[in-house]
Amino acid sequence: MRIILTMRPRKNPFIPIEAEGIVPSILMTGAEITVWEGNRERRLDEVFEVAVEGEAATVEEVEVVLRGDTSRLKRVGEYMDGGRITVEGDIGMHCGNFMKAGTIEVMGNADGWFARELCGGTVICRGDAGHYCASGYRGEKKGMTGGRVEVFGNAGDFAAEHLAGGEVVIHGNCGDMAGVEMHGGTLSIGGDCSRPCGNMTGGTCTVLGCAYGMIPTFQAKGETNGPDGKNISAFTGDIANRGKGSLLVRRYQYLK
């Protein structure tokens, strides 16, 4: 079953739309769902052209395709428990938060809080992700607990903050404070980042580029073999927080 949602042209495309109902398991039932455009509640077909092809017996056979300007569409795939969502353009904030299973693939860029507090499933962004990608919620101790997030472009600040489980792979650069407060899981950064893993207590973070503003409370453990076969510097910490996390960086610079 393929459900194609094409965004209708809007008078003011900047008004955010909250669409936590765009989840395969809800859409496959054909239930009438509504979304909020600003402070107005709208039927799904007022905002999207809806086209349904084929049928599905289980949620695994459902694919939802989002077309058009979806860059202000928030909370797509929230609590998703199976199936697939493909976003052909950009996606707005909070995409795939609390997701348990299934796949979300974003061909463009993702806005902030991408895959926040993920529990399972796979979330892929072919472009750049905003701040708080694969992070936890403000104030909460536990962030993402399982699943896999892959960003092919860059990610913003606080990527994988409070990471507790699962795998986060960012092929490009990260902003400030990547992997801060992480206590489990793995974070791999293909490019550069700054001040990684402050207050880390567990888990593994690998930085294949340069870690700027490296935090001094990590203890050097010598050189080891990196995932690409080349040498990489190993650290453990954050000892300021009695942490036993592992931080591997190819190059690093302390703050002057």
Binding site: Y137, R138, G139, E140, K141, N241, R242
Partner: protein, 566 residues
């Protein structure tokens, strides 16, 4: 205002010695009267349990401390979200919810009067601003004097009248209600990086001991003839072995007032610990309860701990630092100039944790071991032990041995060897619960005279009708019905107006702030005392003329003037 008649009410009103009579209650202009005419609005209580509106004599719902709890725990606001509907504001939060959430939840449980447990005088404006957004309960604020420089100096010099003049002036200035001492001397010592280990240690620089502060303030309270007694949070909160210090403090209280107690010790559960460290930690509720039983001049409240997430907040800065060293989570510490301090930490009380299980047992033991219900109030020190929405469960625990046993089976297996709870057979009755949740609290606060905590003629028409038929329920076995009944009233009536029905809020409401204004002879007016003015101007960051809370901060308010003996 229209008339109201509540018919067929099964009334329990301990102050007027009514224990389960079917009555009609007539209300005119917000007060209970003998009779009303034909045109009155009629509520049929249908024989359901009807009590005076609930009074919480120690809760933290408004002020800087509570607000900082909200500030540092954004995740708390993920719970309890409800959209705006009708007269209701949108609400959110669980342990430190929005002011409206506090107000609505208390109203739904039948509570109509609240005492904010700790208001720093300098930051009183914030408390009063939040009071005005707590519309369904009458409110008052105990004012912190535990580390007040002027008071400590006066007590050190043995000049109780001077201390009373300072306290009286401050209470009037900040529109406070009573004297609150939180870890007297300890928070000030903490300002010097120290703490006091018990009541005989001296506070650095001031050379005054907690015992002297407590004894002095009790005399100050009686000199000012305040309606409420000294409200004391003892030293050493939460430390193993602190019961000895607590008993020592309770023994300091003389019997000076025939109308009420002379010392109100709050959240005594946190002060009834035995052992010498966390491994030997055990309950010492028995010696504490024994002391209370032998000293009728003392009233305590439970400070019951219930399992789950909450936020601890207190003016006891050093104690919160010790908690921080245990949890290594978020911590906030705050110093209030010449007055006091505070600390905040979010906590999770777990059944599987031995210490938490013992704490849970101690609160219940205190309530069951104190023989006279007028001497032990039902509280959780909201939100320190648990959010107040847990009160119905505590009521059920106190009324049912079976429920206690069922709960006890789920706590840490070693708890049995550390506490006496399983051996306590006592089950409280409806009348005792009414005492511990309203009548006793109103009496302890000294507000029965203004019509709180009872349903006599002339009393304020604050009435709670619970969906409980006392004759048809056996609370010792049907505890779930007790919990459900106390969690949601059929009707809550505030000042003669129904404010909630079956869990629905009916009006926007407007509360009354109750404050105390001791009348002191002009020559004892401390604001004209050169030494005090000089100290004030030298150390405070505000001018003395800007210190008093302006009248605009209080909307509807009730000023209780007292004839001070100075």
């Amino acid at each position: 205002m229209s008339d109201l008649l509540i018919k067929n009410a099964f009334v329990i009103d301990p102050i007027n010695r009514i224990n389960g009579e079917i009555m009609d209650i007539a209300v005119r202009d917000g007060r209970i009267v003998e009779d009303v005419g034909q045109g009155a609005e009629v509520i049929d209580a249908g024989g359901h349990l009807t009590l005076p509106g609930g009074v919480d004599s120690h809760t933290h719902i408004c002020g800087t401390k509570v607000n900082f709890g909200r500030y540092m725990s954004p995740e708390d606001m993920r719970a309890g979200r409800e959209a705006r509907r009708g007269v209701k504001h949108s609400i959110s939060g669980y342990s430190v919810p929005t002011t409206y959430a506090n107000s609505y939840r208390y109203a739904i449980m039948g509570y109509t009067t609240l005492l904010e447990g700790a208001m720093a005088p300098l930051e009183a404006r914030h408390t009063h601003e939040e009071f005005s957004a707590t519309p369904l309960q009458d409110v008052m604020a105990n004012t912190l004097f535990d580390g007040n420089w002027g008071v400590m100096e006066a007590i050190r010099d043995g000049d109780i009248e001077r201390a009373a003049a300072i306290v009286g002036w401050t209470l009037s200035a900040v529109k406070g209600f009573g004297i609150k001492l939180t870890n007297p001397g300890g928070t000030e010592a903490w300002g010097y990086g120290k703490d006091v280990t018990c009541i005989r240690d001296k506070v650095p620089h001031f050379e005054v001991s907690p015992a002297e502060i407590v004894e002095g303030m009790i005399r100050v309270c009686e000199l000012l003839r305040l309606p409420h007694s000294v409200h004391l949070h003892c030293n050493n909160l939460g430390k193993p072995g602190n019961y000895a210090c607590t008993v020592g403090t309770l023994n300091l209280a003389p019997d000076l007032n025939e109308k009420r107690q002379t010392l109100y010790a709050t959240h005594v559960q946190f002060h009834s610990y035995g052992g010498s460290d966390w491994k030997t930690f055990c309950s010492k509720a028995e010696p504490v309860a024994y002391t209370v039983n032998n000293r009728p001049q003392i009233v305590i409240d439970m400070g019951q701990v219930m399992f789950g997430k909450t936020t601890t907040m207190t003016a006891d800065g050093p104690m919160e630092f010790n908690l921080y060293r245990l949890h290594h989570d978020k911590w906030s510490n705050h110093d209030v100039e010449l007055e006091t301090g505070s600390g905040i930490i979010p906590v999770l009380y777990r059944r599987k944790n031995l210490v938490n299980s013992i704490m849970w047992s101690i609160g219940l033991e205190l309530a069951l071991l104190v023989k006279n219900p007028w001497q032990c109030m039902l509280t959780t020190d909201n939100p320190n032990g648990a959010p107040f929405v847990k009160y119905p469960e505590i009521i059920a625990l106190l009324m049912s041995k079976k429920y206690r046993d069922a709960e006890f089976a789920t706590v840490h297996p070693d708890t049995g060897s550390k506490v006496v709870l399983p051996a306590l057979e006592r089950e409280l009755d409806w009348n005792e619960i009414a005492v511990m949740t309203r009548a006793g609290q109103a009496k302890a606060l000294g507000i029965t005279g203004i019509g709180k905590g009872h349903l006599g003629i002339g009393a304020e028409a604050d009435i709670a009708v619970y969906p409980l038929k006392v004759d048809e329920i056996d609370p010792s076995t049907e505890y779930q019905r007790v919990i459900d009944g106390f969690a949601k009233t059929k009707w809550t009536v505030k000042r003669g107006r129904p404010v909630s029905r079956d869990g629905e809020i009916l009006v926007h409401g407007e509360n009354t702030t109750i404050w105390v204004d001791p009348k002191i002879r002009p020559e004892r007016d401390i604001s004209r005392d050169p030494r005090f003015v000089e100290m004030f101007n030298h150390w405070y960051s505000v001018r003395m003329s800007n210190y008093p809370v302006q009248d605009e901060y209080l909307r509807r308010n009730l000023r209780m003037e007292t004839e001070a003996a100075i």
